[in-house]
C-alpha cells in the first residue's frame, strides 16, 4: 500500500478519473472550488475534458450532453450552485442520463435540497453522504457505477471538511459488477439509417421506433426509483443491539457523533449509533429495526431539522424522536460552526441522559 497525501477534493478527482470519468464542468464556489481545480489539472492529462463553465446551469447541461454520448461525466457545486442545477438534475432523471454530481456542501443545510430536490416531475436522486475522505473515495467510484446501472443522476453529499482535509490515501479501483451496454448512447452512427435515436424526457421516440411516451415512461421511471428505494439503502450502525438511546447522524458530522457514542459506551451508557450512508434512499427499515426497543432516538444534524423528517418516517413511535443538533455555521457562512465538536455533541447527549435519570 502506498499512501499519498491528498486533500479530499484531489482524492475525489483521482477516484473519479480512475472510475473512467472523462468530462467535468464546474463554476468556482467555496467549498467546491478546489475540486474544479483538480479536475482542470488532471483531466487533460487523462485524455479528458474539463470546462470552466460560465454558470452552473451551463455546466450541468454540458455534462448532460457529454453523458448522453455514453461518456462518464460529472459536475459539482454546493448550495446556491446546486439550486441552479435543479432543473437539469430532474431532466437527467427523467431522460435517464447517468451523471455524477459532487455537492461539496458548506454545511448540512442542504439535506432537503439533496433528497427532495427542487426540480420537476417524479424523480429521486441517489445521494451518498461519506463521513470522511477515505469513504468519499469509495463513494465516488460507487456513484459512477450506480449512475450507469440506473441511468440516473446521483449525488455525493460531501462537505467543506471532506473537501479540504488532507489525508494519506491510496486510490484503488473498486469493482461493483457488470453494467448493461449503453446502447442508448448518442454517437450519430444510426443517423440516416432509419433507426436513429432520441433522448427525451417525454419519450416520444422516433416515428420508426416510437417511444413509450410520457405517461408510460414516467410510470416506468417511478417504478425504477421505487425499486432503487428497496435495493440501494446503505447504512452503518454500532451498539444498537442493547441500546436504550440511538443517535442518528449523517456525513462528516456522523463521524463526530460516532466517536462520542464510543466514548459514552466506555463510560457504560447503553447508547448506539446509526448513520444513513445513502440519504436517498433513506434506510427506513433498518432504522426502524434498530430503534424498535430503544427509549430515545436522538438526531444530531447541523441544520434546523431536515433529516429528522426521514427519521420520524422510519421510527414506529415518533414521540421517541428528538433533534439535538441545530443551525451552526461559521460566521462567514462558508463552513460549519462551533456545534461541530465532539465536546458539544457529548454535552448535548449527556444532558438528555441526565434529564432521563431525573
Amino acid at each position: 500500500m502506498t499512501l499519498r497525501l491528498m486533500e479530499g477534493t484531489e482524492a475525489i478527482a483521482e477516484a473519479a478519473i480512475l472510475s473512467g470519468c472523462r468530462f467535468f464542468t464546474g463554476y468556482p464556489m467555496s467549498s467546491f472550488t478546489k475540486l474544479l481545480e483538480h479536475f482542470a489539472q488532471k483531466l487533460p492529462e487523462n485524455n479528458g475534458v474539463c470546462i470552466n463553465a460560465e454558470s452552473e446551469i451551463e455546466g450541468i447541461n454540458m455534462t448532460i450532453g457529454a453523458a448522453s454520448t455514453g461518456a462518464r461525466a460529472a459536475t459539482g457545486s454546493c448550495g446556491q450552485g446546486l439550486a441552479l442545477m435543479q432543473e437539469a438534475i430532474a431532466e437527467a432523471a427523467l431522460n435517464e442520463t447517468p451523471l455524477v454530481i459532487f455537492n461539496m456542501a458548506r454545511n448540512q443545510q442542504d439535506y432537503f435540497q439533496a433528497t427532495r430536490g427542487g426540480g420537476w416531475g417524479d424523480y429521486r436522486t441517489i445521494t451518498l453522504a461519506p463521513k470522511d475522505v477515505w469513504e468519499a473515495v469509495e463513494h465516488t467510484q460507487l456513484l459512477f457505477h450506480l449512475a450507469d446501472l440506473y441511468r440516473a443522476p446521483v449525488l455525493l453529499y460531501g462537505d467543506d471538511l471532506i473537501a479540504k482535509t488532507q489525508v494519506g490515501v491510496e486510490i484503488e479501483a473498486r469493482e461493483f459488477g457488470t453494467l448493461p451496454d449503453k446502447n442508448w448512447a448518442l454517437d450519430g452512427k444510426l443517423s440516416g439509417t432509419g433507426k436513429s435515436r432520441v433522448t427525451w424526457t417525454f419519450a416520444w421516440g422516433k416515428h420508426n421506433t416510437p417511444g413509450l411516451r410520457a405517461d408510460k415512461h414516467w410510470r416506468n421511471i417511478a417504478a425504477k426509483f421505487d425499486a432503487i428505494n428497496n435495493i440501494e439503502a446503505r447504512w452503518e450502525q454500532q451498539y444498537t443491539d442493547d441500546a436504550e438511546i440511538v443517535v442518528v447522524a449523517f456525513g462528516t458530522v456522523a463521524k463526530f457523533v460516532e466517536s462520542v457514542v464510543e466514548e459514552l459506551r466506555t463510560k457504560g451508557h447503553a447508547i448506539g449509533f446509526f448513520r444513513p450512508i445513502t440519504l436517498w434512499p433513506f434506510p427506513n427499515d433498518a432504522l426502524e429495526q434498530a430503534t424498535n426497543s430503544v427509549r430515545r432516538v436522538l438526531v444530531f444534524e447541523l441544520n434546523a431539522g431536515q433529516m429528522i423528517d426521514d427519521v420520524k418516517l422510519s421510527v414506529a413511535d415518533k414521540t421517541k424522536v428528538q433533534g439535538i443538533g441545530g443551525v451552526s455555521v461559521h460566521d462567514s457562512g462558508l463552513s460549519y460552526g462551533d456545534l461541530l465538536s465532539a465536546q458539544s455533541i457529548l454535552t448535548r447527549i449527556e444532558e438528555i441522559i441526565t434529564g432521563d435519570k431525573k
Binding site: 447541461n61 448522453s68 437539469a88 452512427k189 443517423s191
Partner: protein, 259 residues
C-alpha cells in the same frame, strides 16, 4: 395588411401545393401550421447534411418550440434538451465526440430569451458546433407571445398593441452579438420566405457545417422563419409580412466569415 378573420371559418380549405421532402425525414407527417417557415429550415438543414455526406456521425440537439416535435421525424441521433440549453449540451457532446457533426436547433424564445448566455458563452469559447436559430420573433408553440426578437410594433398576445420600447424594450440582434465574439467563425442570417432566400440560406448552412468539419470554431445560421399563426396574418401573406417587418430589422446577410 390583412388580418385573419377569427369570427368565421376560413373561406377556403387548405390544399396541398407541393410534395417533396428530405430523405432524412422518417415521415412527412408533421404538426406544423400552414405557412410555417420552420419545416423549410429543417429541410434545408437536412439537405445540407446529406449533400455534404455528414449524415453518418451527425448528432442534433433540439430545444423547445414548434420545431421540437420534429425530433420524432428527423432521422438523426438527437438529444432533446431543456429550454435554452442546447449549445451547452452540444458542447458536451462535441467535446466527447469531436469527430461527429453536432448541430443545434433553437427558436428565438429558446436561444435569445431563455438561453442567451448559453449561446454567447458557447460562441465565445469557440465550440466547434453549428447552431441554427429559427427566428420568427414570437413564441409560436405557446400561441403567439412576445420574444426578445419581436420587432417594434409587432402585435403579440402579450404586446397586443404592438411591441412598445417603453414597455417592452428593444429587440436583440443575436447574430450581430455572436459575430462580435472572437470565438465565432461564421455567422450568417438567412430567410425562407422566398425561393432565392431559401437557396441562399442552404448555402449558408453548408458553409457553416463545412467549417465545423474543418474545426474552424463556432458557426451559426439564423434563419428568419414565417409564423403566420403567431403573427395573426393570413398564411399566404406570411412571407410578405416577414419581408416588411423582420427582414427590415434583421437583414439577410453573412455577418462573419473568417476564411
Amino acid at each position: 395588411m390583412n388580418y385573419i378573420a377569427t369570427n368565421a371559418p376560413p373561406a377556403e380549405k387548405s390544399k396541398l401545393v407541393a410534395n417533396s421532402h428530405s430523405p432524412l425525414l422518417q415521415t412527412t407527417e408533421h404538426h406544423f401550421c400552414a405557412g410555417c417557415g420552420e419545416p423549410v429550415g429543417i429541410r434545408i438543414l437536412l439537405e445540407a447534411l446529406s449533400e455534404l455526406s455528414l449524415v453518418d456521425g451527425s448528432i442534433g440537439v433540439v430545444g423547445h418550440g414548434c420545431y421540437g416535435g420534429a425530433v420524432t421525424t428527423i432521422d438523426v441521433d438527437i438529444l432533446q434538451c431543456l429550454h435554452g440549453r442546447a449549445p451547452s449540451c452540444a458542447t458536451g457532446i462535441k467535446r466527447m465526440r469531436p469527430e461527429s457533426t453536432v448541430f443545434t436547433i433553437q427558436g428565438d424564445g429558446d436561444m435569445v430569451n431563455e438561453g442567451l448566455q448559453e449561446v454567447l458563452h458557447t460562441a465565445a469559447r469557440g465550440e466547434n458546433i453549428t447552431c441554427v436559430l429559427f427566428n420568427n420573433g414570437v413564441f409560436g408553440d405557446t400561441g403567439g407571445q412576445m420574444t426578445t426578437t419581436s420587432v417594434i410594433g409587432q402585435r403579440t398576445k402579450n404586446s397586443i398593441n404592438g411591441r412598445d420600447p417603453a414597455a417592452h424594450g428593444f429587440p436583440i440582434h443575436i447574430s450581430n452579438l455572436i459575430a462580435s465574439l472572437e470565438g465565432s467563425a461564421y455567422v450568417a442570417r438567412g430567410a425562407v420566405h422566398k425561393a432565392g432566400a431559401i437557396a441562399k440560406t442552404k448555402r449558408m448552412l453548408k458553409r457553416a457545417l463545412s467549417l465545423q468539419q474543418q474545426g474552424a470554431g463556432f458557426t451559426m445560421v439564423e434563419i428568419l422563419t414565417m409564423c403566420p399563426t403567431g403573427w395573426f396574418v393570413p398564411v399566404s401573406e406570411g412571407g410578405d409580412y416577414m419581408a416588411d417587418s423582420m427582414e427590415k430589422i434583421y437583414p439577410v446577410t453573412v455577418l462573419k466569415n473568417i476564411a
